[in-house]
Subunit: 141 residues, 4 copies
């Protein structure tokens, strides 16, 4: 079902995203690191790394909550230039409530030297449909 | 009314927070930079800078939405050691919907040389009560 | 010069990015919202919104610092589905030091009804070359 | 040595912070949840949760890098009201380079019902002293 959602996203097709694994609260999303996904130095462009993290967060949160969701916000730290033949994002839901899931994601570049961690992200996935939604009770003062 | 809320927060009293200004979607919150709010180098501790930003975000979002709210998440960049006699956080609501406000905040240190920007924050303020809450329709794919 | 950098980024060409305006500490970057940049609901995919924010932050920080830079981290809040004919990201440097610039960015969708704010981002742009770099003196305890 | 640093931070003494565990790249920092750390609803104030996360991130990054450091930025998601007798923040370094460490932190409330996850944070810890610092080579386009 995740593959269908991905297949219906023109942007995901445009960048060649591939759903490697999907289970409740976990998602693995990958792209082949083709030339068109790179920036001027030959590394993956930050935009494609962000895309992978954002989308993997959404899938991890959505499968955890089992309702239609959106990523409402996230932050990402790039920790190493993404060099290799393939990028893979692995996301999981760290906390799930009725209204949202807070998810974390790591993005790896896979090349001749194996996997290298390239980026780390954390964000909020929120339920989309109002009807049955509980209000967020989370938060600080 | 904001002053009452602040006065009912023991932690806000513990750090000596003072509500300087409050209007719909805007808040200015300050502390005198006493010794107990500092870290080992004589600067304000990051924790008090974060407290000010967090609380100012909540007030800005709450007055914009006019319902009970919580800060559900935020990020902060420290840009300069906070040195001076006083810290002031100025927050405003950048986007307001029925379910949440995205707010921004700048924290300044005020001393002999005037005001210096010390930190910049951005976060989500969400409505607290479920009953009348619209579900979040915001977000990406 | 910004246009040359952009033209040398295959991913930026792949998504059709266009540098609308660039001056020290400010950048405006846009894309035509073609089908391939959308997700399953007909809105812009979060990935393209993130790409625009990320790249505009980099340009705003780079022109402010006048050295080669990278975006080392950022956070983004999506506040409204991005619907329209065009997306434009406007970024500015909020604080600049020798080693980094903290930048903010707003992304708007432009359609028949004018401009609508879709996302708000904040991030760190860091200098790339080690040689002349000052160490970051910013930060909290 | 961590306890000495903490003892030299007046703000950490003011909130009663206690270093529970510290090893290279890992830190556990706690407070007793006394009345003065709470907000108007009897929960821990977001400001003290943020303080714990911020400081635990700094210690995790500093012990990983083995140089003087500052937390230059972080984001935090509050996922549950912090109710209980004690708050504990557990941070670890997720990626370490010469110039910075990207760290993650979870904050738990400990009460009669055991430990409950209250907040999740991610941030950058940067080296403080310029002299020997490598320039950040991390980042995206």
């Amino acid at each position: 079902m995740g593959r269908e959602v991905l297949a219906r996203q023109p942007f995901s097709r445009h960048v060649g995203a591939e759903l490697v694994a999907l289970e409740p609260g976990r998602c693995e999303l990958a792209v082949a690191l083709t030339t068109e996904l790179k920036q001027q130095d030959g590394f993956a462009h930050g935009g494609i790394v962000s895309y992978l993290a954002d989308n993997a967060l959404t899938f991890a949160g959505g499968t955890a909550m089992r309702v239609p969701v959106v990523t409402s916000e996230y932050k990402i730290n790039y920790v190493r230039p993404a060099i290799g033949e393939r990028l893979v994002a692995r996301a999981h839901a760290a906390h799930v409530s009725r209204s949202q899931a807070v998810c974390q994601c790591e993005v790896y570049a896979i090349g001749a030297e194996g996997e290298k961690l390239c980026a780390i992200a954390q964000g909020t996935v929120a339920r989309k449909d109002g009807a049955a939604a509980a209000a967020p009770q989370e938060g600080s003062a």
